[in-house]
Structure formats: structure tokens, C-alpha cells
Amino acid sequence: MFLTIDPVLPDDAAEMLKAGDQVMITGELLTARDAACGRLAAALKAGDPLPVDLAGRVIYAVGPTPAKPGQVIGSAGPTTAARLLPYLEPLLKAGVKALIGKGDWPPDAATLFARYGAVYLAAVGGAGALIARTVRAAEVIAYPDLGPEAVHRLSVERFPAFVAVDARGADLYRQARDRWRRGR
């Protein structure tokens, strides 16, 4: 399924996506991992202005390597999403509609995605060189002092991901375990 993000996720898209769907994303992503999510959440809590409007946006949890000369970006695969749990609710409340990362979440996260009508998309962890080829442009737009953890605006074309938690709270990881578990 193709998803266009221009620069927000279309209104009905989150509703349509089902856990297990494969998607190809074209459009604009914002990057934020531990440090940047922490700052965004702190700003939201304090009522300070945000460096970028989060309503409808898609956040990609990534800290890329520097671009080599002639490259748009270095290696750029997903980081573990579950570490962002303390920041998840404030970000969703501020309007974030999708988060891209890798790995499963503790069970409460699915409830949050469902409550805010948002989705969690998983990219392939450790495939950073391959994923970087889908990035057409990259630019730091906030928190440059954070280095690789700064907020970047990425323009991507056919960025591959799986719907891992959908807006009804269905969880691909849990389904996969139930289906494949043999021992214990």
C-alpha cells in the first residue's frame, strides 16, 4: 500500500491501515529520537512553543550517520521505539499521527495509539544503508546541538515499513508471537 505524507498523514489513512500491512511511504518525515523527543515533550509540558507543528505529522525515530560527500544522508535505519514510551502520550496529544521505529512496545502503548487514532510503523532495524537510499533530501530544522539526534526534515520516496500497531490497537508483534511460539 502506498502512503503519501504531504506533509501530514491524510485524515483517513490511520483508520485504513491494519496491523501487518506493508506500506511504502512517500513524502515528508520528521526525525526525533530519545533526546529530541525528550525536549519536545518538555516543551509541551511547559507550554513553550514547539520548533515545528506536530499536528498530523509522522515522526521517524532515527539518528543517521553523517552523509559522505555526494550523499544526501548516511545510514538511516530505525532505532528502538519502546525507549520513547515516556514521551509517547504528549507527542500523540500534540497531534503526531504516526511514529516509525523498530521493535515492540509494552502493552500500554497500543492503548495510547488507539486512543489518539495513531499508528506505529516498523522499519527493518539494521538495514540503515538500504533505507538511506529512499531519502531524497535531509535538513536539520531544530536542536542542531544534539548532533545525530537533531530534528531533521526528511523527504522520502518509497520508504518501506510495516504497520505494527494500528489505530484500533492491534499489534503485529503480539500476533506474530502467538502464531509462531512453540516453547515455554
Partner: protein, 301 residues
């Protein structure tokens, strides 16, 4: 490490007389070696991991799992071809130095040379600055150092340098437990499998699971690190340990986590165990979770 430990101490005398002059090794050679190995490890994954991934891509029963494994192989091929880091988490740099006791290190501070090597390799290889200077203050050091340095003094007049890049998606899922003698192998088995089960999808499976058994609290963790970077085609010399490795791998692969946690029969590529003598009251066990991006490289000076 690794062989069955003798029940008597070795006699230290091996040579009639000391060498008249030690071999001089310039720490700058160590700096350059660390830099080169760091770049190489990040762009060129070992053949052992690549072969294991290819084999897993054939054996995996989940279609999605097979697809993911093929993407990982394609990613490693691309990284090698274009000389870019295969994964954006180029890791905390762990350096093991085995220094021959007939070596005299000259030309500067050894630890500074290692960190300068990390700085240079990070710059030359376009690696990521992934280190904060203080665990509480959390400001990025901006040069990807310092690394973690383990030094051993060994017989001989050469220096063996091993550089490992440890991503923290997997490092974070590692655990250590002080078991008691009564817990035995069953206790070890439970702890290892439980640790992998808890790591689940977050540590980038398929995993390489490094297990340290014995020693003291800190040595046990180090054994697990040495186990996780042992090449997958180098098996443990002890038959009973090899059997335990195989049994644990089988049990882990029954957890169903699968490639990237999306279900399947290839949750781990290998379980590597290292053992060391321990106290009569204890049975320490450490599990160092390694992701598929198991990057390490070594050289002799």
C-alpha cells in the same frame, strides 16, 4: 579462555632468560590500527554473519521473515560495495588489547592513542557520534569517544588489537544474574532463554547471544562480551559447552520471535558461551545480547 581449566596452576617459568631488549611498539601504530578496524568493521560485516543470514533466509518458515532476512543481506552487500556503515548505530567502540609482555609501548599515552583512533575512524568512515561524555549530563562528546578499553598482558612480543562496535539496541537488553550452585545448568538455561524472550523484537533479531558463565561479577560480563564477538564458525573447544550452545539455540528459536520480531523460527543465529572458574558459592551468568549487526575486526601489530 575457553579450554577446560587445569586443576593446578601453571608454572610461570617458560624461558631461561629475559629478552635483552623489549620490542618497541609505537602507540601511534595502535591509533592507526584502531581507526582502520573501526571503519572496516562498520562497512564490511564478517562472512560468518553474512553466511548465517543467507542460510537463515533459506530455512526461515515465515515468508515475512525470509523477506526481512533477504533485505538484511542486501543491506550488507550495499554497505560493502559503497563503503558506508551498514547500520546507523555505529556503536560504542569496545577495544580489546592483548599486549605481549615483551613489548614496550612508546610514543605517548596508550589510552589516548586508542581514543584518537576512535576519533579518526569515526571521521574517516563517516560514522555516528554516539557517545555522551557523562551518563547523567548526557552531552554528546562530538568525536564518538571515549571507547571501552580492555587490556590483557600475554606472553610474546606482539600486540593483538580487536575492535568491536556495539549497538545499544541490543546492548540494552543484556542481563547478568548471580545464580547459586544449586541452580545449575537448568538455572542457566532459564535465565538465558528468559533474557532473549524479554529482548524480543527490540534488539534487532536475528540475534547472536553471548553467554558468560563463571568468574566474578565483572569478569562474567566480560566473558559474555567475548562470547558475542567470537566468530560464528569458531566453536567452543569443549564438547559439553558446544552441546549446551546448540540446545540453547534450539530453545531460543522456539520462542517464535523471528527476524525483527515479526514471527518465525530464526530468532537467533548462534549462542556462544565462554566459561571461567568461579567461587564455590557462586554461578554467575551474563547474557550479552548481540544484534545481527555483529561488527568486530582484529589485527596483529
Amino acid at each position: 579462555m575457553g579450554d577446560a581449566q587445569p586443576l593446578k596452576p601453571k608454572e610461570p617459568s617458560g624461558r631461561a632468560s629475559a629478552p635483552l631488549s623489549p620490542r618497541l611498539v609505537w602507540v601511534d601504530d595502535i591509533r592507526r590500527t584502531v581507526a582502520r578496524l573501526l571503519v572496516e568493521a562498520n562497512v564490511a560485516i564478517g562472512e560468518d554473519v553474512l553466511n548465517a543470514l543467507r542460510q537463515a533466509a533459506e530455512e526461515e518458515e515465515s515468508e515475512l521473515g525470509r523477506d526481512i532476512l533477504r533485505q538484511l543481506v542486501a543491506n550488507y552487500d550495499l554497505a560493502r560495495r559503497e563503503r558506508v556503515p551498514a547500520c546507523q548505530d555505529t556503536g560504542l567502540t569496545i577495544v580489546f588489547l592483548e599486549i605481549g609482555q615483551d613489548v614496550h609501548l612508546v610514543g605517548g599515552d596508550l589510552r589516548a592513542a586508542v581514543d584518537a583512533g576512535i576519533r579518526d575512524g569515526t571521521r574517516d568512515g563517516f560514522l555516528r557520534n554516539s557517545v555522551v561524555g557523562d551518563p547523567l549530563g548526557r552531552e554528546n562528546t562530538g568525536y564518538n569517544g571515549p571507547g571501552v578499553l580492555h587490556v590483557d598482558i600475554v606472553p610474546g612480543d606482539r600486540v593483538h588489537v580487536t575492535v568491536a562496535c556495539k549497538g545499544f539496541g541490543s546492548e540494552n537488553k543484556s542481563r547478568l544474574k548471580m545464580l547459586t550452585p544449586a541452580d545449575g545448568v537448568a538455572g542457566i538455561r532459564d535465565f538465558v532463554v528468559e533474557t532473549v524472550d524479554r529482548a524480543g523484537a527490540q534488539a534487532c533479531p536475528p540475534l547472536i547471544v553471548g553467554v558468560g558463565i563463571g568468574g566474578s561479577f565483572e569478569l562474567c560480563a566480560r566473558l559474555a562480551k567475548q562470547a558475542v564477538i567470537r566468530p560464528l564458525n569458531r566453536r567452543h573447544p569443549r564438547e559439553d559447552i558446544r552441546r549446551l550452545e546448540d540446545e540453547l539455540l534450539e530453545e531460543i528459536n522456539r520462542l517464535g520471535i523471528g527476524p525483527q520480531g515479526m514471527g518465525g523460527i530464526r530468532t537467533a543465529l548462534a549462542v556462544n558461551i565462554e566459561v571461567y572458574p568461579t567461587h564455590i558459592a557462586g554461578l554467575p551468568v551474563a547474557v550479552n545480547i548481540g544484534c545481527h549487526s555483529n561488527r568486530h575486526m582484529d589485527a596483529w601489530i
